[in-house]
Amino acid sequence: MSQKVTVRKFDAVIVGAGGAGLRAAIQLSEAGLKTAVLTKVFPTRSHTVAAQGGVAASLGNSEEDHWHWHMYDTVKGSDWLGDQDAIEFMCRKANECVIELEHYGMPFDRLDNGRIYQRPFGGHMSNFGEKPVRRSCAAADRTGHAMLHAMYQRNVRASTQFFVEWMALDLIRDAEGEVLGVTAMEMETGEIYAFHARATIFATGGAGRIYYSSTNAFINTGDGVGMAARAGIPLEDMEFWQFHPTGVAGAGVLITEGVRGEGGILRNSNGERFMERYAPNAKDLASRDVVSRAMVTEINEGRGCGPNKDFVLLDITHLPPETIMKRLPGIHEIAVQFAGVDALKEPIPVVPTCHYQMGGIPTNYHGQVVVPGKRSQNEIVPGFYAAGECACASVHGANRLGTNSLLDLLVFGKSAGETAVEELKKSPKAHKELPADAFERSLARLDRLNTQKDGANVHETQLAMRRTMQKHAGVFRFNDLLKEGVQKILEVQQDVQRTEIKDKSQVFNTARIEALELDNLIEVAVATMVSAEARKESRGAHVRDDAPDTPEHPNGRDDANWLKHTLWYKEGNRLDYKSVNLRPLTVETIALKKRAY
């Protein structure tokens, strides 16, 4: 099949209209640049909408706070794998970005003095790790919804041009490696277009759907990460996945850490507040990786709840009902809908659930994509930017703090947008010519899918992938399971290359979309498993049985050999490494030490 490809020219194309994409779009539209925003779903349906607990900023509205403390917490949370220049940049920009949102109209909750309401959150402390601090700026427990709508609304005001229900297929790169746009499919008609642009910004979100049990939406299929990998861009630190401590048992739906911020407590089958044993200082507000491992340990040691002893309980029955209904109304609703409990009266059954991708497309703190080259380990890929969960700046390192994801997408969405505006103003107005093979990869994928006979079933193949990831690269990791996992995921990859769909319609063909999404998911899954198998230490969310806590290697961390970022290349399924930037922009390095809460 030789499909017609229509070329459209823009100054910039943004792929994804969640928080990062919308924030970048504001920057470009308000600068008067001709910008196309492609999105698989109507912008307010993007997964930022599901974020609950808040966005971090050291506004200090309730008590003293400082961006430097926030920076310290983020570096410590990252288990020192985060780049300290990017972390300083993010924490310093936080106040400005949150205040801008307020000016856009975001309905933050308020304190009596009219300022933005802030609540405590896991791992956020005052005075370099002393005690929990109120840093999370919240709109009840619907912060992501309020934020996403406010940013969409600001884009309506700026007359941003959206292409709603368009799926980007592949990155267009020329022989010099410069990025010149993307190919995309209009879902309603099945027609293929190329968006020829002088700047391409990926804001495609995460890929939590590689796991069987995930808080993520169906659309979180790592499209940008997959496209980048196919175009030869390495993926950074893909072994690090956050398991959120409190997904509703069985359903996977997220229960915000804000519940614990408001005073909620985790209990085992003895009714014990077990976090006191694992994190005597921060207790239930320790970092997410720490809490998730404590929960799994409780379950593994027989202190889980329910008939199968396979979950623990999140208890808020001691909180005043007014607080719950005022600050956590969405959680009350979710508990009724998905756990069948009235959280005012009964605890909520919860289990650690895959939530967030710490790794992604490597960028600097300007939002520019960087890859190792002849001159340095961070050479800029001309014309290519990434921000939000699909990108790795890297601010989250081996473990992200709650509320830092909404901050990440604001700061780096804006930063990528600003950098693109500057670069576009500097560079010549003319578009560089598209290479002759610009559409080849996409057309070959579509052609293969349309003509595949006796192929693999898409639904079963994605289930096999998700089960493999869940079993072989979960909260705790085991050397033998990882080794076996690599073999298994490569077998699943073979099936992904021969998926077959029955539906061949051109009109809104969701079977085709799911098959194309699986092409992206599998890149993420393979990158994760291969990177995880290779990292022979425990750090942050990556904890393995053969790297235990010893006096020589506290928490199993091995800085001498493994204080470095992983880079996975699709071609040859190859790994490389680059050093962590321990040098902040203006302050002193936050020195390595053992992580304890």
């Binding site: 779903v41 109507f42 307010t44 349906r45 993007s46 997964h47 909408v49 599901a50 205040i99 307020e102 000016h103 856009y104 109209g105 309905p107 933050f108 909750d109 308020r110 304190l111 009596d112 003095n113 009219g114 300022r115 933005i116 709109a139 619907r142 919804h145 309020a146 709508h149 406010a150 609304q153 600001r154 309506v156 005001r157 309603e188 939406a217 169906f218 659309i219 069985g250 359903a251 739906v253 997220l254 969405g330 609703e333 979710i334 809908q337 998905f338 898409v458 639904h459 079963e460 769909i501 029955k502 539906d503 319609s505 051109q506 009109v507 809104f508 063909n509 969701t510 079977a511 799911e514």
Partner: protein
């Protein structure tokens, strides 16, 4: 694991293949881990990959999977499978009153056009202060029940006034959004917003039938918000 078989009657139409729409009878086996209608739809799609519907968050916040379920608008992801009586097929149709693209997927252009028509963004022409604009908790509370809208269109597509005049009547979702900005102490465009709605159709086609309140999956009350706008119009006139 206990399983049961659910019978469906599903509206099908693919303009690429079908001369006209038809209702498809199809059954699917669900087990005790399948709680919601969306879980069953995902299983159905594994059996017949040509069934087209929108879905994303599966927890009632993204607003993608609004359908007409046994004659009533709702979200598939918040509809309990246990709520369906045994032995009777579950009838699924696209949201009423909007053009159909394919199967359960409607063209929402008109719905969003109305939402955009009310200028759904904060208008404040003062230079932005260095810090946040202050708002008391009481003033902020005025936005509760308004800002939580997920734009699923369950309300507008259950409203007879919107069916008749989707091009002229803003509809409950758009009007709820209009009042969300009118009620915001930080917004300075109340008069302009009221002017924008002062015509025989845009606001006043609401005849308080209250279908919108009945179906809103977030428990919001567009009729109440519309009533408040009407009150402000009257007060402004005298």
């Amino acid at each position: 694991m206990t399983t049961r078989t659910l019978q469906f009657k599903i509206y099908r139409y693919d303009p690429d293949q079908d001369q006209k729409p038809y209702m498809q009878d199809i059954a699917v086996e669900v087990d005790s881990t399948d709680r919601k209608l969306l879980d069953a739809l995902v299983k159905l799609k594994a059996v017949d990959d040509s069934i087209a519907f929108r879905r994303s968050c599966r927890e009632g916040v993204c607003g993608s999977d609004a359908l007409n379920i046994n004659g009533r608008n709702g979200l598939a992801c918040l509809t309990d499978l246990g709520s369906f009586p045994d032995g009777k097929p579950i009838v699924l149709r696209p949201l009423p009153g909007l053009p159909i693209i394919r199967d359960l997927i409607v063209d929402m252009t008109q719905f969003f056009k109305q939402y955009h028509s009310i200028k759904p963004y904060l208008i404040n022409n003062d230079p932005p202060p260095e810090r946040e604009r202050l708002q008391s908790p009481e003033d902020r509370e005025e936005l509760d029940g308004l800002y939580e809208c997920i734009l699923c269109a369950c309300c507008s597509t259950s409203c007879p006034s919107f069916w008749w005049n989707p091009d002229k009547f803003v509809g409950p979702a758009g009007l709820l959004a209009a009042y969300r900005f009118i009620a915001d102490t930080r917004d300075q465009a109340t008069n302009e917003r009221l002017d924008n709605l002062e015509d025989p159709y845009r606001l006043f086609r609401c005849h308080t039938i209250m279908n919108c309140v009945d179906v809103c999956p977030k428990g919001l009350n567009p009729t109440k918000a519309i009533g408040k706008i009407k009150d402000m119009m009257v007060k402004r006139a005298i």
